[in-house]
């Protein structure tokens, strides 16, 4: 299963630890983009600690006062809405929201 997981809150969803997939992508949207743009007390968000694909939505970053280059971890790829649509249709079979 190729699974894209949308994270839209700035807290670590409990379910994230349990999910298994042959290919897992975490898409940071809405308030989830704070995981990508901020360190808390100098530490990167635990949400970014997995060995999976990471994406953050550019529009949601910019709405909140960040630029695409503010992303704190290089493994997070910044995409726009068009890129997100491509991702869902081409790279993943299923999507879920946490």
């Amino acid at each position: 299963m190729r699974l894209a997981v949308f994270v839209s809150e700035y807290r670590e969803p409990e379910m994230l630890e349990r999910l298994k997939a042959e290919k897992l992508g975490i898409v940071l949207v809405q308030n989830g983009v704070y995981h990508a743009a901020l360190k808390k007390d100098g530490n990167v968000s635990p949400v970014l600690s997995k060995d999976v694909e990471y994406y953050a939505l550019s529009e949601d970053l910019q709405s909140r006062g960040f630029s695409d280059s503010d992303v704190v971890d290089s493994k997070v790829k910044v995409i726009n809405y068009d890129g997100l649509v491509d991702l869902i249709f081409n790279d993943y079979e299923k999507t879920i929201w946490l």
Partner: protein, 137 residues
């Protein structure tokens, strides 16, 4: 004539919910409209950002372009324009690795004269204690 001090404390993030916008709207409204709690009473609002709430004050928010809604940055500037006391918790700002440069400190471009005050939480606590009413958002 008695003054009622109301503290609006924002601890939520912007945009995912309307919560922090409501706080700003109420605080601004209580400053601009003559609200009488009882006959002769007036209101003195203070607006404080703590915890995740400090992120409402980040500069360069593009919510108008992306979502078509006014940004929280614009609301903070409006609050400053109306001489509202705006406090931002120093410890929480530093916790996110942010400085005064990253947040809205003044609204000079629209004619605001007061500036945001970045203060230790202790000072915000004093405001909470001296307020007649506390509103948490």
């Amino acid at each position: 004539m008695a003054i009622k001090k109301i503290a609006f404390i924002v601890e939520k993030l912007p945009y995912k919910s309307e919560t922090s916008r409501l706080a700003l709207t109420h605080a601004i409204a209580s400053q601009t409209v003559e609200i009488h709690l009882e006959d002769g009473d007036n209101v003195e609002p203070v607006l404080a950002f703590v915890g995740d709430g400090v992120l409402n004050c980040l500069k360069n928010q593009k919510a108008l372009e992306v979502y078509g809604v006014s940004s929280l940055e614009a609301h903070v500037k409006n609050a400053l324009l109306l001489d509202l006391r705006v406090l931002v918790c120093k410890e929480d700002l530093e916790g996110f690795g942010l400085t005064e440069d990253s947040i809205v400190m003044d609204a000079e471009e629209i004619g605001g004269e007061v500036t945001t005050q970045v203060v230790p939480y202790e000072e915000i606590q004093q405001d909470l204690e001296s307020a007649d009413h506390l509103m948490f958002f």
